[in-house]
Amino acid sequence: MSNHCKILWQFHPEKKQIKMKKIIAKYSAVIMAGYLFAVMFSGCKKALDLKPLDQVSDNTFWTQPTDFKLAANNFYGYLRAFSQTNTPGDWRNATDLGADRGSYARGTNTATSTDGNYTAAYSWLRSINTLLSKANSFTAPDQIKQYVAEAKFFRAYVYFDKLLTSYGGVIIVDEVLGLQSSQLTAARSTRDQTIDFIIADLEAAIPNLPLESAIPAVDKGRVSQQAAQAFLGRVCLYEGTWQKFRNGDATRYNALLDKSILNNNAVIATNQYSLFKPSALGDSALKYLFILENQKSNPAGITKSANNEYILAVRYESNNLLKTIPNQISFGALGADMSRKIADMYLCSDGLPINKTITNFSRATMTSEFQNRDNRMRYFMCMPGYRYWQNAANWHINWDWSAADLANARQPLDTWANGITGYEDQQWAAERQVPNSQEGYDYPVIRLAEVYLNYAEAVYERSGTISDADLDKSLNLVRLRINTDNNMPKLSNALVAANGLDMREEIRRERTVELQGEGFRMDDLKRWYIAQAELNKPLLGVHWTGTEYETLYSFTGSGTPPAGQRKRPSITLDGNGDVVADPVSERKFTEKNYLVPLPTTELQLNPNLTQNTGW
């Protein structure tokens, strides 16, 4: 204020006459006001330090073992679940077993600027690394060792399931990065380094994880020691075969296969899991396993507590909408088109493939090819003319196949409703009355059947042979689960020898049939190095020429067809009279498609990052 007064003095020299009193009054008023403002202002400065009101500060968290448990709970959301398996455009969903004409199955996917899978994986790794880094400074490590082990399991899971199987070797991040971290612009680790990192994490986790039997009821669903072993078995089989079929280093891939055998065997040996085959369900046990709920979801009213097959699962519960499966699973699953490839892959009841069987295999009628086959065919696929139940509109009223029950079923099935292949699927379709996307059956991340199949394959690939004893303790349990009434023979060296079969092909067939709807197929085609051969074949549907299809779907006029005839769909037939759902000209899977391209934005942001070959 003194400046203003100076100005006044200059402009008003005559005011020097003003009484002192007035000056004092003026100054004291100004000083008082200035003091008041200064006090107010300093008070305000302090009043700017505000702390969050509804969030927990990172500095005060991580002090109790339960804090680590809550953080570990978060990781269970990283498991593969219905939302991923059924996402169109996700390469994991690509297959040659369905009527898949998507870009991944056709090999026409392109490099994208961003890739949610890539970004999500690293954000999950950050959460995991955060727990591990906080654990380093926790005072009682014993109390949190299970959660540290879970973190390592999930770190391995993310590196394998999200990154390695998609992109090959990737940048390995094992700590919480900051904006200046050099790892942000690191080059990719090699494939071997990435796999070794995954294995190291799993081996570190296994001893600190509880046995399934030691997990208390309130913690059921958490990762067990066996789950980690089973997963290690999967990883080693994957990489062992990947290397083997690409002429890798034999020492390395054999060591990987050994590790797979060892860990799969460890799971089998604990005897804490068993295949789901309650006698009340007979040969429909496998079908109902996939839609097992705590509400009545099968004729026997068996609930999830009877399922000892799932080693690690994403758990859902329909009751009161607790955590329901998020997609229209049943709606999309029942009636989805399947390919000729899977239809022909089912063995006949004599244990032989259709080209070698001595049963009367025939395609003459629409249902004849379902006769005398592996029972799984009847339960994975729909048979033309049969009735099927579905959650929203055509639910099973009481599972007694009474007139009322049948009346609520779908009309006798027309497998040509979609007009693609003529083969339809029934796996994953709930039969009880439950709205779409509110089903509550669990998603198997690892189940015992896979461990058995992994074991058999690892043993065979390690040495080129597999003993009957090894088959009996693993693969044959899966094969014969619902194939006892038809006396299907076991897979044995004798059966293979007597019928000119190929043991490797039979082991792969068993795996493909059993795990067909669980997202394994594309990974298998890739590691076996046969994707180029298999995916580039035309996608076929039913055999048309000379069959009941040709005579029934024969009406080509307009209007309503006469009784006994249906409109002929517009189909393309090949020289054999088979329906071609996707011609070979559309199948363009090449060497580069074995890996997914890195998102181009990442290449721009990190000059040291190299794109996968061919992209």
């Binding site: 026409t108 758990r315 519960e317 009751n319 607790l322 409703a417 007009g419 517009s570």
Partner: protein, 1105 residues
């Protein structure tokens, strides 16, 4: 300070006013006026008659000059010979002479018995008192770019649910937009001088000096309580420091005017009428075009007859006369194949008509106010009521607003004055809970209801109208309490102390019911569907929001004029404000009863209840000041500054200093201009200043510098199947302690002029804005595993201009005016912190304007087989959305291989758009995207005109945008954008066929066809072809009114009576293809944004008692 009452004229003309500077807020002024009037009172108290003649500058008498006695409603006007006669209560009465285009003159009656005057040309607005930050200024000596509007803009508009609504086209440089026409959800927003950041920055709005904590509060402010608004557009906003980057709006509410008590009533009734309305395919067209579209999208142009949609299309073409097929009829064999439905309906219904009927609704607004002012006290009490009707014919949908305002001031002594505003605003908005089903309509052919009028569903898809009708209501009850007290104390002569406390409490009580719909049927009512949603899926949510904001500031104000040459003004003060937000809600599912929603009436167990709570707070502390100096009112200087601290930043980066400087030169005050008659006023202005921005609503959190753990209760199901696990994880965004305010540099030059005897006034401003430390999330490599925080890493350059012109004059007895505003601005992102990932669509990219479009370049249409074959070679994959490489057909668009590499792709890095070159200096050929234009409106204009004649008045406002690109290609903007929906018909006859090769649109196809994709996504993807022009001109407002002559009104015991008819948005010219309103948002989503815009016709009356 001497009071020169000897002159008789105590007001107004520019050179003489020292007192008026302090009008309204200066107790000194009030004190002196009171003292003066008291002394005059002592001299005389007898009434006298005053006579005289009023002449113009040319010496000729002027007819129709209005003469009123100040503070009363007594008045008269001059006759043809310019003479008048008026009786005044005392010799101290003041007469006001006013005439359009001339300066008002106030003259004390005295004892002369006769007063004759000569009218002085002069635009009265030079003497307007303009509200600026922490004070007022006279327009004549203003150096900043400040636009103002007064209460007139809110008159005659019918229902105005938000004051911003009335501002469209009224203020140069202010661009108003809305996102919806749904009552209570209009989403009005405005921007001053274009963008100031890539982040959406709202202007700071203050009501009577107290900031609103968010712009939603404007929804409950009754426009009829607003006296005036100032828009601080340049450095003049710097005194508001860190929040002024988007400009500052100062709203001043009405207070009592001088004079006796008056009661004013204004009421209006409005009818809404649906404006632009998309046409819909009729039943014949639907089947025919669907089949055509499917066929065109199929291999070899032959539809797959086994595909369900082909069969469906054929069913439409052969639909039964009854319009429906009941699948439950015994023996019926379904040849179409939708398995989960029980009938097929083929009614020729129009989804627009089903939902909106005739598109009419009624709204009404009533306001009443009582005001009076005495020597010591003024008060104004107003009550307002608004009911905004909805065109939606189903479910409950309404917006009601109740407002009460009390403005009161009291002069305690010659030194102390306290003014208080208390207002209560209540706003009830009710919308159907299922509002989001208002989209592009359901499957065509749906009946309004079943055969007997019951709710209809097609399988699991209930008719949208029934979801709206039966699905429950979302009720939001907003209450706002606004308290504002201001103390003014005259410490010593010329020095005032002002302190203000404002408290703004906003609460919302929300009730959302999601009802079960148990009774739904197929058309014939032969089957009752399962409830959809079922009872156990119903839910009810209660939520409570509370936003308590207070602001306290105090400042010293010094004003001094020395020797009539130097004017000095200094203001300095401090400010503290704090906001506390608290919201919680609780939900229960499985309601026992649809009719009585109550949290206690959920039938489920504990897992069916859920709760949430959100709390945060923030505070700002500031010191601010301003200094003015003017030399002979000719050379004008101003400086202002603010030092702001904000709780949202780390203590080390919390405080920032802002300042502004401006200068003005009133050329017409110069001696050499005295002889220049042409110019009445000519002023040059220049300003430089800085202002801060918080970078929009979401760029700065409340505690971004504190690392937090996110805890959630919706984790995996572990343990028994009875509960979901609680999870904890690091925040997805890194904490950051480095960031601070955005800091905008603001430069402005302007010119104000008044010419031709004050008849033509105009303003032109050119401005530059530079935001050098714009907040942006740094794009980080994925291995970071988290989003990078917003940092001050980007740089934006904005420039533009705005102008306004106004002409006022009189021809005979008709006074008239016309004028207009024109605004444009451009911007360029100088630096984006390396964030240059380029994808098709709307992007921000270095070197381009904010919200620029990028996409392919259209290259004609395929007409020949050879073109098809050649083009197929260009698209070897599906990189540009081509459904299949073997399927390149005639009639689809071609796009240009811009980089000439023989492959068409929009997925590449497209580095050529950034002028990047490879190591050898050659352009990088890695993509074919090109720049298509920016999306923001250009050349926003408004034209207004009006006239008055013998009590009749007429005014009209046109408003529009001369240039704008919009990309709106989805659903109804693309033929068969979604195959299952009712379809718009704007494209009929415009699609390519072999017979119509030069058609506007490509060949008609569906989005997909059997296993093959259709061509919609390909053809209508973003390209220079698919962009549309969003330019429009619109008749914004038209008013015809009549004011009863005062003599007549008096006989009815009224002071005044005016009736009017007005219309809003009655006409427009637009080229938007899909017939959604051009003002609607570019990507119209479902729900509130899908309400068609309406025209509003209003009949209203204003009465003063």
């Amino acid at each position: 300070m001497k009071h020169r009452k000897n002159a008789g004229i105590i007001s107004t003309s520019p050179g003489r006013s020292r007192i008026k500077l302090l009008v309204k807020f200066s107790i000194v002024y009030l004190f002196l006026v009171l003292a003066a009037s008291k002394s005059v009172h002592a001299q005389s108290s007898s009434s006298t008659t005053i006579k005289g003649v009023v002449k113009g500058l040319d010496g000729k008498p002027v007819e129709g000059v209005s003469i009123t006695v100040k503070g009363t409603t007594t008045g008269t006007s001059t006759k043809a010979d310019g003479s008048y006669s008026i009786t005044v209560p005392s010799s101290s009465s003041v007469l006001i002479f006013s005439y359009v285009g001339f300066t008002d003159q106030e003259i004390i009656a005295g004892n002369r018995g006769g007063i004759s005057i000569t009218l002085q040309p002069g635009s009265s607005n030079l003497n307007d008192v303009i509200v600026v930050g922490y004070g007022t200024q006279k327009r004549a000596t203003l150096t900043g770019s400040v636009a103002t509007v007064d209460s007139k803009v809110f008159k005659d508009r019918g229902v105005v649910s938000n004051p911003i609504a009335a501002l469209q086209g009224q203020v140069p440089g202010v661009i108003v937009s809305r996102s919806s026409a749904a009552p209570g959800q209009e989403g009005w927003a405005f921007q001053i001088r274009g963008a100031s950041s890539v982040n959406a920055v709202d202007p700071l709005v203050l009501v009577d000096g107290v900031p609103l904590s968010n712009l939603n509060a404007l929804n409950s402010i009754n426009p009829q309580d607003i006296d005036n608004m100032s828009f601080l557009k340049d450095a003049s906003a710097a005194i508001y420091g860190s929040r002024a980057a988007g400009g500052v709006v100062l709203i001043t509410t009405k207070r009592a005017k001088s004079g006796k008590a008056s009661i004013q009533y204004s009421g209006s009734v409005s009818q809404k009428r649906m404006g632009l309305r998309p046409g819909i395919l009729n039943a014949d067209q639907y089947g025919q075009y669907l089949l055509q579209a499917i066929s065109n999208a199929s291999p070899n142009g032959v539809a797959d007859e086994s595909w369900i949609w082909t069969k469906y299309a054929r069913a439409w073409m052969n639909r039964p006369d009854s319009g429906y097929i009941d699948k439950t009829t015994p023996g019926y064999v379904d040849n179409i194949g939708f398995t989960d439905v029980l009938d097929y309906t083929f009614f020729d219904t129009d989804p627009m008509s089903i939902l909106w009927g005739n598109g009419r609704a009624m709204s009404t607004q009533h306001d009443i106010s009582v005001s009076a002012r005495t020597d010591k006290m003024g008060y104004r009490l107003s009550l307002g009521y608004l009911e905004d009707g909805s065109m939606l014919k189903w479910g409950q949908n309404s917006n009601k607003r109740y407002t009460v305002n009390l403005a009161h001031d009291y002069i305690f002594s010659s030194k102390l004055k306290i003014s208080t505003n208390i207002s209560l605003q209540k706003n009830d908005v009710i919308v159907p809970t299922r509002q989001s089903v208002i989209d592009y309509s359901s499957q065509p052919g749906f009946p309004v209801s079943t055969i007997h009028g019951k709710p209809y569903a097609w399988g699991t898809q209930p008719g949208r109208n029934w979801l709206l009708e039966l699905g429950g209501e979302n009720k939001a009850y907003d209450t706002r309490v606004f308290l504002n007290t201001k103390l003014e104390y005259n410490i010593i002569k010329d020095l005032n102390f002002v302190a203000q406390v404002g408290y703004n409490w906003a609460g919302q009580d929300g009730k959302i019911e999601y009802k079960s719909i148990p009774q739904i049927y197929n058309y014939a009512e032969t089957y009752q569907y399962q409830g959809n949603p079922r009872q156990d899926q119903s839910w009810y949510q209660r939520l409570n929001k509370k936003d308590a904001y207070y602001n306290t500031n105090a400042y010293l104000e010094y004003k001094k004029k020395v020797n009539d040459i130097h004017s000095i003004g200094v203001t300095a003060g401090v400010n503290y404000e704090r906001d506390e937000y608290d919201e919680f809600g609780t939900t229960t599912t499985y309601l026992a009863n649809n009719d009585v929603p109550s949290l206690g009436l959920g039938l489920g167990d504990n897992t069916t209840h859920s709760n949430y709570e959100t709390q945060y707070h923030w505070a700002i502390a500031s010191a601010f000041g301003r200094a003015n100096y003017s030399f002979k009112d000719k050379y004008l200087f101003e400086a202002n500054a603010r030092y702001d601290g904000n709780s949202r930043f780390d203590a080390n980066h919390r405080w920032l200093f802002y300042n502004g400087f401006s200068a003005g030169w009133r050329i017409t005050q110069e001696k050499f201009m005295q002889g220049v008659k042409f110019f009445n006023e000519l002023k040059l202005r220049a300003a430089y200043g800085t202002a801060g921005g918080q970078g929009g609503k979401n760029t700065i959190g409340y505690y971004d510098y504190i690392p937090v753990v996110n805890i959630g209760n919706a984790g995996p199901v572990l343990g028994g199947y009875t509960s979901r696990a609680v999870t904890a994880g690091p925040s997805g965004t890194l904490p950051d302690s480095l960031k601070t305010w955005e800091r905008l540099e603001n430069k402005n030059i302007g010119i104000d002029f008044t010419v031709l005897n004050n008849r033509l006034t105009g303003t032109f401003d050119y401005f530059w804005k530079r935001n050098k430390n714009m907040l942006l999330t740094q794009l980080m490599p994925a291995p970071l595993g988290a989003s990078a925080p917003y940092r001050n890493i980007a740089d934006l350059n904005v420039w533009g201009w705005e102008m306004s012109l106004g002409w006022k004059d009189r021809i005979g007895k008709v006074t008239y005016h016309f004028g207009g505003t024109l605004t444009d601005n451009s911007n360029k992102i100088v630096k984006l912190g390396g964030r240059n990932a380029i994808t098709a669509g709307m992007n921000n990219l270095e070197g381009y304007a904010i919200n620029s479009y990028f996409g392919l370049k259209y290259d004609g249409r395929i007409q020949t087989d050879k073109q098809a074959a050649d083009y197929a070679a260009l698209v070897p994959g599906n990189g540009v959305g081509m459904p299949g490489v073997t399927q390149v057909i005639k009639g689809i668009n071609m796009y240009k291989d811009v980089n000439g590499d023989g492959t068409l792709t929009n997925a590449g890095a497209n580095q050529h758009l950034l002028n990047k070159t490879d190591a050898n200096g050659n352009p990088i050929a890695d993509g074919d995207m090109v720049y298509l234009g920016r999306s923001d409106p250009r050349y926003v204009f408004a034209l207004n005109m009006g006239a008055e004649w013998k009590g009749f008045d007429f005014s009209v406002v046109f408003q529009g945008v001369a240039k704008q690109n919009i990309y709106r290609r989805s659903d109804w903007s693309v033929p068969f954008g979604a195959i299952w929906q009712g379809q718009a018909n704007w494209w009929v006859g415009k699609t390519w066929t072999p017979d119509n090769p030069n058609a506007q649109l490509p060949i008609l196809t569906t989005a997909n066809s059997g296993g093959f994709g259709g061509y919609n996504a390909y053809d209508y993807q973003i390209s220079d072809w698919s962009l549309q022009s969003g330019a429009y001109v619109r008749l914004k407002n038209i008013v015809i009114g009549y004011t009863l002559p005062q003599e007549v009104a008096r006989k009815a015991k009224l002071e005044s009576l005016r009736v009017y008819v007005s219309g809003n948005d009655l006409w427009e010219k637009t080229r938007v293809q899909d017939k959604w309103d051009p003002e609607q948002t570019q990507t119209v989503s479902s729900g509130a944004q899908r309400y068609p815009f309406y025209r509003l016709i209003t009949f209203g009356v204003n009465v003063t008692f």
